[in-house]
């Protein structure tokens, strides 16, 4: 690629800025151009999985229930912000922000899967697709004649991806699931938060982590399956992603420890069980004491990391606590639970009359790893994340200016990109049905009147 060729004297950072420049995304090709994905999904897990492929350039067709669309369009924080219209049939309502982030770059079609006519249309689309993503209750699509067993007869190259809570077989197969249930039962929920003796309780990860990250796992597996299909077998496959299984995969040392010693990993709050100092402390002063927003008016927090003996000595020197430095000079002493219960409060005492920015400045000067705990406003306004395109302004074709997240990673030659955040329900019915199902304007109108689309 000529534009990224090494130039004499170009520093590495300049090279990176040019190579990964988010403003140049549209001057480059897309990795998945030519792949077609059908996304018969709702909520977050399934939709996000398909959307990661849409960011990479696949033509993703999201198929929802006619008129009001899928459930996630009807969720939004405190029922306040909405993007209007919901659909051309329901202009007085909007799409809730719960939908944002899980469906970018997609084409939106509506279809009532219950009807034989809709099923016939879906089969026509599946015959021309590479990937099929769905998250209905296990066996539902099979019963309707549009499951893996039927579609692979029509299109043996189809990669059929089911995502859900517990999986379609085994004693818990009939259980419904949501992200928060996946977190609860998979095991990461019970470990997060303060321990009982400090007045704490298990804590939810604020994002729909098991969903959004589970979608990444699904997309990873789909990409691997496409690679195998295209390079080796010529055949599709069926993948089953259980989000509760994904969460259990994430538990680090917890399962080996339990299996060998019968010890249950407990919560350890904002500290770290394996490194000390490597935790989050409170800074007594608010960075925005006059703000009317309680999110800003509260005390600040900062993550501090100084786990090597040299770093810890420097931290103690900076904090001016020589007794701490002597007592906990050695890493293996410092890491003990009782030690941590003395070290972190001492650090908080030092930070009690400072803002997180003041603490960061002092620690930066001493070359000690730190990271202020930023709220979403502070993150959105970081030049670092803006320049890298992690958070960016989008001139959305339907909804106008929106701040939106960029892709989760950067590619030099075929960058993932953001084209639009979402569209109303059924916005692309005519385009997709005309192009892929060969339906005339008249037929489309009839289907619309019958609420089949």
């Amino acid at each position: 690629m000529a534009t990224t060729a090494t130039k004499n004297g170009q520093s590495f950072e300049e090279f990176c800025q040019e190579t990964f420049n988010p403003k140049k995304e549209f001057t480059k090709p897309e990795a998945l151009k030519g792949y077609r994905v059908l996304s018969c999904t709702q909520y977050i897990l399934g939709p996000s999985c398909a959307s990661y492929l849409a960011e990479l350039g696949a033509e993703v067709i999201k198929i929802e229930a006619p008129r009001r669309g899928e459930a996630m369009r009807h969720t939004t924080p405190f029922n306040e912000p909405f993007l209007y219209p919901l659909s051309r049939w329901v202009p007085e309502r909007g799409t809730g922000l719960g939908f944002v982030g899980a469906n970018p770059n997609e084409y939106f079609m509506s279809l009532d899967f219950h009807r034989p006519e809709a099923q016939a249309i879906l089969k026509k689309l599946a015959a021309k697709s590479d990937v099929f993503v769905e998250n209905y209750r296990p066996g539902t699509f099979d019963r309707w004649g549009i499951g893996y067993r039927q579609l692979k007869e029509i299109n043996p190259r189809l990669v059929y991806c089911w995502l859900g809570g517990f999986g379609g077989w085994g004693p818990g197969r009939v259980r419904a699931s949501y992200d928060i249930l996946g977190q609860s039962q998979g095991g990461n929920f019970g470990m997060t938060g303060k321990q009982e003796i400090f007045g704490g309780a298990p804590a939810k990860h604020t994002i729909w982590l098991a969903d959004y990250w589970g979608g990444m796992m699904g997309a990873t597996q789909i990409l691997a399956a496409l690679y195998y299909r295209d390079k080796i077998s010529g055949e599709g496959t069926f993948t089953e992603y259980s989000q509760v299984h994904g969460v259990t995969r994430q538990l680090e040392y917890a399962l080996p420890l339990y299996g060998r010693h019968g010890i249950t990993r407990e919560r350890w709050g904002n500290w770290d069980t394996q490194l000390c100092v490597h935790g989050i402390i409170m800074c007594g002063k608010s960075s925005y004491p006059k703000s009317e927003n309680p999110q800003e008016a509260e005390e600040g927090y900062i993550m501090v990391s100084a786990y090597s003996d040299q770093d810890f000595a420097r931290l103690c020197h900076t904090v001016g606590d020589s007794s701490l430095a002597t007592k906990y000079a050695k890493a293996d002493v410092r890491i003990k639970a009782q030690s941590q219960m003395e070290i972190y409060p001492a650090l908080e005492k030092w930070a009690a009359d400072k803002t997180k920015e003041q603490v960061a400045q002092i620690l930066d000067a001493a070359n000690i790893i730190n990271q202020p705990v930023w709220n979403s406003k502070e993150v959105a306004n970081q030049p670092h994340f803006q320049q890298r395109g992690a958070v960016r302004w989008l001139d959305d074709p339907t909804y106008g200016d929106l701040l939106h997240q960029g892709p989760a990673y950067h590619l030099s030659h075929t960058p993932a990109r953001l084209k639009w955040a979402l569209k109303p329900v059924g916005a692309d019915n005519e385009y997709i049905l005309g192009k892929l199902a060969g339906l005339s304007a008249e037929e489309i109108k009839r289907l619309e009147e019958q609420e089949c689309i």
Binding site: H74, G187, T192, I207, Y212, T220, A224, Q250, Y253
Partner: protein, 466 residues
Amino acid sequence: MADTKVLPWPAVPILKPEEVYAGLSDQAKEYPLFLESICRQEHNFEKPEALSRVRVLDCTTSMMIGHWCSSQLSELGAEVIQVEPPGGDPLRKLTPFGRKEYMFKDKESGEECGAQFLHEMRNKFSVTMNLETEQGRELLKQLAVQVDVIIENSPPGQWDSWGIGYRQLRELNPRLIYCWVGQRGQWGPLKDKPGMLDPVAQSACGFVHGTGDPKEFGGQPTRSALWMADHVGGSAAAMGILAALLYRENVSGEGQFVEATSAEAIIRILDYSWAWYSMDGSIRPRFGNWDLAINIYAVNPCKDGYMMVGGGHDRLWYRIWRTVGDANPEVEEDILGDPHLREVADRLAYNQQVKTYTMLCEWLKDNSRSEAEAKLGKQQVASGGVLYVNEVAEYPHFKYRGHVAETDSPHYGKILYGTTPYQQHKTPGRLKWLGRPTGYDNQDIYRRLLGFTRDDFARLQQAKVI
């Protein structure tokens, strides 16, 4: 501690198919049994691996994001060579609260390895290489022409200044996919701000600020117990690598430069935080174990722990209160009679959520997790208790499906672990081995790929290059 008697896993036997599907009609059990026939992990080794032709050099050290990334590829069949500094990755030494007795000891050499590192060293070869020496970097260049993917995490520009960065290696191997991973990024204003391990990234992206109870409930910003952002960042890196691989095979024949960071991966999945802020200036607040956008959708205390109950729309809302009403009719009556709780949308307001969950807890306090789940399950309401690790390990559904399994390592003995969720019909992910002692594969890899002789090993070991 070592003398404590621990029951072998599983303490309770794993259910058999005839127990799981007892009493079902042939028609009702036909589909789940079909899924079992194509997805059960015991068939894994009858099937090929999706990425068996891909070779990956994971040169990351002291950082989890890279190890997680290469684990995704190795579970799917790639040949992943873990390059460690002589003496091993410092992460090998980590163990909870410094307790050496929790480490896993190699039967032969006695070398100890912490469980977290071990859990991610799945299907990987371990090779030692000192990249701080000129000779070590020569070895890397020789390997670079024989691999598809290199993953590294050195400080920004370090490899470039050493002559082994993307700009130099792509000249040697134009097909190479070169991936850099880190917490915040190798370019941009924060590139030189140090920090290798989560929760640096969790704190930098808005996640920590938004997790935990609100201040008025006595809460504060809360990190994930896990190095969770490193897992998400590693998954993002794996997606990027596979997309680059597909493009190379299908279109360009060329590799490319991939960069993934833990902070940005979480920014990507922090749902509506950014749009919401841009619409009305809202800052994503903490809302504890409740949800800003859905009610009922929360975890609350119950008789023996914490209980998740979910049902955002009307159908489930009424089923939940009907279930509650069986034992607490006054609660059901109060909720159903409240005009402010009649519309789905109205229930999201802060005060209505406080009321909803206060009333729900009236019922939950008399029900254990399993009792609540059984009662709500009858109404097809999604619910379940918060499980601790001992319960996860013994949960019948997880054991039956093999979400948790035990492997018998030739080096470390029996290890309980979380299996790969890449379940599949044709090319499933799988575990071949879990963990290797440091440099265990030096002989194999250096002989097989670089034609080393006895003399080479002796010379380079003495020079502390390998």
